[in-house]
Structure formats: structure tokens, C-alpha cells
Amino acid sequence: MIEKLKSLLSKISADYADLRYEIKTETKIVFSGHEITEVSSCPADGFVLRVLKKNTLASTTFTREQDFEKALKTALSNAEIMAQNDPVPVGFALVPVIKDKFFPGLEEDPEKIPIEEKIELTRHYNEIPYQVPNIIHTDISYNETIREKCFVNTEGTEIVEKLITTRIAGSIISSDGKTLQTVRVGVGGSNGFAVLRNREEHFLKKAEIASKLLNAVPVKAGIYNVILNQNLAGVFTHEAFGHFSEADLIENNPTMRDRMKIGARLGNDILNIVDDPTIPGQLGFYKYDDEGVAAKPVQLLKNGVLVGRLHSRRTAHAFNEEPNGHCVAEDYRYAPIIRMGTIFIQPRDKSFEELLELLGDGLYLCDAMGGQTSGENFTFAAQYGYVVRNGKITDMLRDINISGNLYETLNNIEAIGNDLKLGEVGGCGKGQLNIRSCYGAPHIIVKNAVIGGV
């Protein structure tokens, strides 16, 4: 395929062009309740063409090879139109030319596991929650996504990379006839099928939480000091801070760009945040992004001061900063955009017990159930929580949503635990879905969090 792509690329007259061909094979096994409602395993493919001409960048995606000429014509014409319309001039930061084929090591290659075994494992986990009282429904599915990417550009880069993501995930619903409670479950990763085995405890524990939530008290709206568990603190890091580290989200927003200047003090000096797609075995792992740039770890916040951000080649050039391989597409239907890889708060020295003691009175909030950011404001839901009185975990809470302002919240992170945990099932929907978006943190204390409740 590389040769074919090179031959197509040779027909392009532009300052720079790249072409990515990708086959995405998805295997889905879906259980709804006790019934299996879908099994499919199909490849789908397509091309993404990007052209840099007259200081503008245009992209076209297409399905059939015979549509290449049409796609090229569209891209060149769009570049021409952009050039005539006083655009922000586009350039690409220089990166090394790479010729490589990369197939990450796997603990059990999912492609070698028979579909029957995958069905049985999913069925097994799907049945576990029903051992617990008041569980009325489960939606559990197996998802395996294989991206085989061939990338070439006019600078001479030629990369083949194959990324396999697996997970068994979904939700468990409990009911007592009056209310329905939902808890999310999920195990998975990027390093093979082995991570999915022997995970019964996870499904059982989540089912018990779903059941207990029926008797939990809805949280009272107000302002609280809180401990966020690793998953929730990870979502905060991703939603509230991480998106602002993505250069494309701030580049055309002058006020945000001004506040996110390198060197700006944004948080308490105990706070360090890094994005590192190069940690093997983590969900967010990759070697090359979708514009052929080697991924690098990026220290984003150091002692509360902004020291780095995530870039594509275009934004690295625009900001006059180093490119770091964070430009990733969902699949063959999209040109890549800037994405987080594995973002996390770096651990400090406090144990969870010490954090509880430090909190005294407040809330302990656990596990995310969706989150979103808009400018400096963010919101995310917690699946459950507890009232903490005098350093002791007491009554269970539900219906918890946290909202806040990025800058205030970063400054309100008062203590950071020593128990970093990275997520196995991430995901981010910034226009395109990124199923390998990975986040995590240790337990943290946040002062004065706004909690919505009924």
C-alpha cells in the first residue's frame, strides 16, 4: 500500500501533501440484558488527503481509490480559495523524516482469540451483576478496534502502524421499582487480550455499587471541600485542564490564548501534569501520530506553572513551539486534530487516609459519568460519593455533578495523593471520537467545589 500511496502522492503539485490509508476492523459483541443482540466483525477503509499550498492547509477524505482525483481537485481548490481570503498563514514545524513499521507488543493478540471465546468471556462478565440484588439490566459489550494505518508524505516519511484497542464495557442498572440507578463498568487497554481476563471482581464490585445507590441520598446542592478519586480526578485533568493544553482549542480565542501563555502560573505549586503517549501498556499508547510525528511526553504543568502544550505540526509552527506528536484522527473518515494521549496528575506523598484526615468534613466523590468543558468552565458527573465527617467515610450519595472554573479549581487543589491510577477505558469526543484517550490521577483534595444536586 505504501507504494500505491507514494504513486498517488507523486501526482500532487503542492508545497506539502500527505496521504493516509487506513483499514479499521471493528469487532463488536453486544449483550443487552441476558440476550446477545449483535456480533459483527468487519473491516472498513478509506483515505485522508491533506495538501499544504500557498500557506493554507486543506483536507479531503474519500472512500474509493478512484475518487482520488476528485478529492485532490477539491483539496487544491479549497487551498486556492483559502489563499484568496486572507487566512491565518499556515506552516508546518519541521520534524524528522521517518521510515518505520510499528506493531506494538501484545499480551495475547486479540486477533488470534476465536470469536466464540470473546463471546463467552463477555457473556460471563455480563451475567455477574445479576448475582447482586436489585440489578435489573446490563448493557455489556466487547469492542475491539484495529487501526492499520499507512502514512506517506512528500517529505519522504513512510509509516505503517497498527494499533489494537480492546475493552469489555457498558453499564449496570439497578431498580427498586421507584428509581433506576446506573453505574458504568469497563476493563480494557491497548496491549492485548490478557487485560480482559480474570476481571470478575470489577463487574461484581460495580454491581454492588449500583445496588447500594438505590438507598443512597441525593446530594444537596452547594459548595463543598471534596476528595476526588483517581478516575474522577483524571476526568477533571482531561476535561478542565487537558483540553486547554490542546493548541487548536485556544489558538483562535485571544483571551484564552493570553491566559494560557507558557510561564503562566495556573495552579497551586504542588500540581504537576504531564501527557505521555509513550508509556507502553497504557490505553493511550502510540508511537507515531496521524501526521507521521513521533509522540513525545509533554510536561504541561510544573509546580503549578504552564510549561508545555500539545501540538500538531501546524500549531507548533504557529506558536513557535516544539512539535510533539499529538495530532490524531478517529479513523479514515477524518483529518487528524490535536488530542491528549495519556494525561495525568503526577503523584505526591499523601496516602488516602492522610487525605481523608486533611479533608475533615466534606465529600468523597468517585468515578466519572461524563464530562465536558467550554472555555474555562467545566462540568462532570460522579457516579457515586460519600459524606466525609471528621475524616471518616459515612453515608453514600448519588446524583452528583461538579462544575467549576478551571483556574479557580487548579488553585483549589490543596493536596495530592501518592496513588496514581490510569484509566483502562477512556475516550474523548472532541468532534471525533478518540477511544484511546487515557487519563488518570492520584486522589486529590479540591476546596470549594460547586456541586449541583436536586
Binding site: 443487552s32 491566559r259 483529518a335 468552565n377 444536586g453 436536586v454
Partner: protein, 437 residues
């Protein structure tokens, strides 16, 4: 495609082949500058087969290997997805006015000029960050099944989305317009938005507590999402809905009438058959507050022993490759019946309250139970019938089966929304808990 279908349907009891082709263009202006021109040319095929009451599914982007395509579908039979459904025989040749050939003549140059003109209108009156996206293109679908059904439809669509962003935030007020061909945005359409924006420039602190909350049409999907979850055939079948036994009961204020209207040609993507080839019709969901119907695709209609309501659409909450999506119960053409008051009159009815002009975290929280808990961005604050400013860091929370009982008034006009085919008026609710820092 017919020849291929004849090959594919051998050795199975029933088969259905779905084909789509789409060409889309996207013009993006950020902060008043042209930043992106993108094109997509996509197509794909989905195949469903039934053999011995077992359902199989496969998809492909191109038909270079039909044998593999069929093999994938046959392999998926092994899972044993049981069904007694029958693909419909549909000879209805009715055509809706979905396609305006003028769409083929639009040029990106013309669209770029239109964006510039819109920015000019805003800039005359405001010093604000203006983002605009115009998306236009065509889509064609074809459905063929072993009952002899052969259906096609073609769509054209032109969407304008403008956002006027408040300073020091990434949130703004939206203007949204849907059509089937290029139509310039009328200047007057932007005036109310500009007026509202100016009033919202003043940043203020607001009190906490229960108060009136006005949802603008582009924010109402938060509440409707929960209702769609509660009335979906699959959730009724699995009893994961608080509405399972509530047909005929009053669940909302009598001021709310909500229905699915696929034959409504006022908006792009009207449909006289769904993605399974079932004929569509208006389906009342809630009439004057009373729950009237649940909605079904073929699969769950069969499970429940009822007829499909023509609501089987290839959809998923987070998108994905279109060919890879199986039909599920979906309300793609949801309408809330307008009331009698204008938007300005609704605001005048507010002694104290907020306007939900944008939301954060619509997807978070316990959706099956009808709970919502969202950040408001932007959040406009009203006192004595006047917008007096904008509050930051504000949330509301509640359960739709309580909140939607407390409707003060419904706006007298429908507006297109982020979801093609769905149109809502603004709705003023009372007694919603607001918390603001």
C-alpha cells in the same frame, strides 16, 4: 447493486442491503477568519441477513470483495441473535421534497462570502469573537430487501451555525439555520441574538435556589434525551425506563405536546421510510402532558409483539462509521408543539431566573432515570423580566419527570436544532434548583 443483492441473499431466509453515499463540504471561520475548508466523499454498505430466526450483520465501505462481505454476515449468525422479525414489503413510491438540485451549484467561494457578510453584520454592532460553520452537501440512501422492497431517497442540506462568544470564555450564543439549499441569513434574524448578547456582557454573581429556568431551543435536547431514553422500545422491553407502565398517564405539564414528525418537509432529511424500509408516520409521544406511545424498530417491535412505528434508524450516541451502525429505535424528527408566547414575552414572565443558552455535560448523569445535572455556559440572568447579566460557574439539576411538570409557558415558534430534523420552541420552567459560585 441489485445484482450484488441477488448474490448476497442466497442461502439465507431474508436479507436487507443498505447503501449510502454522501458528499459534504465544511467551511469554518474562527474569530472572524477563514480557518478550514474540508471535503468528505464517503460511501458504504450494510447487510442484514436472517437465517433460522437468527440475525446476522456486516458492513463494508466498498464492494471490492462481496464474498468476504457475505462471509462476515454469515459468521455473525454464529452468535445466535434470535429474532422473528420480517423485513417489510414496501411498495410506497411516495417522494418527499428532500432534494434541491440547487445544492450542486453552491461553491465554497459563495459560502466564504456569505460567512464574511454574516461576520460584517455582527461586527457592525458588536466587538465579539464570531465563529461560523457552514456545512452543505448531498446524501443518497438505498434500501433493498428480500421482500422485494427497493427504496431510494436523496437529500440536500445546508446548515449555518454561528456562535457569538462571550469574552474570557469559550461559550456563546448560537444562531442556527437549516435549509435544503443556499439561502442567505436574513439580517433581522441576527438582531435578537445581538441584543441578547449585549445584555449578557455584564458578568454578575447570582443567588442560589429554586427559580424559573428558560431553556432555549438549542439547549432543550438535554431534557428530550432523557425522554427519548424513557420511551425507546429497547428500554421498554428491558424495563429500564420509569415509563414502562405509564401509557395514558399524565407525566408532564398539559402545556407539552411532543411528537415525531418524519413527513415534515419543512426541514432537511424528512423521511417517508425509515432505515429499515418501514413507512413512517407522525407518532404522538406526549399529548398535552399524557404519555401516548413508545417507539420501535423492527427488532424490538418483534420482541414486544407490536408493530414497528417506523422509527428504526442507523444511529449511535457518538456517531461512528455510518455503514457500521445497526438500526435502533430513534426519534429522528422530534417536534415540541409551539405555545402562544413569544420569546420576549417568556422572558418578561420571569421574576427571577436564568436562561440556559448552552450546556455542559448533557450526556452525564443517570439518563435512564431521567436525571440531569448540567453546567450552564452561557448562563444569562433575568430579574423582573429583563436580562441583567451573565453568571459564570452555574449549574442546574433535576429529573425531567418532575421538572417537565412545571412548565410556565412554551414559545410560539419552532427553531431548528443541532440535530437535523428536530425542532423545538423555547420553554420556560419553574422551580428548578440553580447553584452558582
Amino acid at each position: 447493486m441489485k445484482e450484488l443483492f441477488n448474490q448476497l441473499k442466497t442461502n439465507v431466509d431474508q436479507a436487507e442491503l443498505y447503501h449510502y453515499e454522501s458528499v459534504q463540504h465544511e467551511v469554518t471561520f474562527q474569530n472572524g477568519k477563514l480557518t478550514e475548508l474540508e471535503g468528505t466523499i464517503q460511501s458504504g454498505y450494510s447487510l442484514r441477513i436472517i437465517k433460522d430466526n437468527t440475525l446476522g450483520f456486516a458492513y463494508t465501505k466498498t464492494l471490492t470483495n462481496p464474498a468476504l462481505f457475505l462471509e462476515s454476515a454469515l459468521n455473525s449468525l454464529k452468535a445466535g441473535t434470535r429474532t422473528n422479525l420480517y423485513f417489510p414489503e414496501n411498495k410506497n413510491s411516495k417522494k418527499l421534497r428532500n432534494y434541491d438540485p440547487g445544492i450542486e451549484n453552491i461553491t465554497n467561494n459563495q459560502v466564504v462570502d456569505e460567512c464574511r457578510r454574516i461576520i460584517g453584520i455582527f461586527k457592525e454592532k458588536l466587538d465579539a469573537k464570531i465563529d461560523i460553520r457552514i456545512l452543505y452537501g448531498t446524501e443518497k440512501i438505498q434500501i433493498m430487501n428480500s421482500q422485494g422492497t427497493e427504496l431510494t431517497d436523496e437529500f440536500s442540506s445546508y446548515l449555518v451555525l454561528c456562535e457569538v462568544v462571550f469574552p474570557n470564555t469559550a461559550g456563546g450564543l448560537y444562531y442556527l439555520r437549516r435549509a435544503k439549499n443556499y439561502t442567505p441569513v436574513p439580517d433581522r434574524d441576527l438582531n435578537d441574538l445581538i441584543e441578547m448578547y449585549k445584555k449578557g456582557l455584564n458578568e454578575i454573581k447570582i443567588p442560589n435556589g429554586k427559580m424559573k429556568v428558560l431553556f432555549l431551543p438549542t439547549s432543550l435536547y438535554v431534557l428530550l434525551w432523557r425522554l427519548q431514553s424513557g420511551t425507546a422500545g429497547n428500554n421498554i422491553y428491558h424495563k429500564k425506563s420509569p415509563l414502562v407502565d405509564k401509557i395514558g398517564e399524565k407525566i408532564f405539564s398539559e402545556k407539552l405536546t411532543i411528537y415525531d414528525d418524519p413527513l415534515n418537509e419543512a426541514y432537511p432529511f424528512a423521511r417517508c421510510f425509515d432505515d429499515e424500509g418501514v413507512s413512517t408516520n407522525r407518532l404522538m409521544i406526549v399529548e398535552k402532558g399524557v404519555l401516548k406511545n413508545f417507539y420501535y424498530d423492527l427488532f424490538y417491535a418483534d420482541k414486544m409483539g407490536v408493530k414497528s412505528t417506523g422509527c428504526g434508524y442507523k444511529g449511535a450516541a457518538w456517531g461512528g462509521e455510518f455503514a457500521a451502525l445497526k438500526p435502533v429505535p430513534a426519534l429522528e424528527h422530534l417536534i415540541i408543539e409551539p405555545g402562544e408566547k413569544s420569546l420576549k414575552e417568556l422572558i418578561r414572565l420571569m421574576d427571577r431566573g436564568i436562561i440556559v443558552a448552552g450546556v455542559l455535560g448533557a450526556h452525564s448523569g443517570n439518563i435512564p432515570n431521567g436525571d440531569f445535572s448540567i453546567g450552564i455556559e452561557p448562563c444569562l440572568y433575568v430579574e423582573n423580566g429583563e436580562i441583567i447579566g451573565r453568571a459564570k460557574n452555574t449549574m442546574i439539576a433535576g429529573n425531567i419527570y418532575n421538572v417537565m411538570k412545571n412548565v410556565v409557558e412554551v414559545e410560539n415558534q419552532l427553531h431548528p436544532t443541532f440535530m437535523a430534523g428536530k425542532a423545538f420552541p423555547a420553554i420556560l420552567f419553574d422551580e428548578i434548583m440553580v447553584v452558582s459560585a
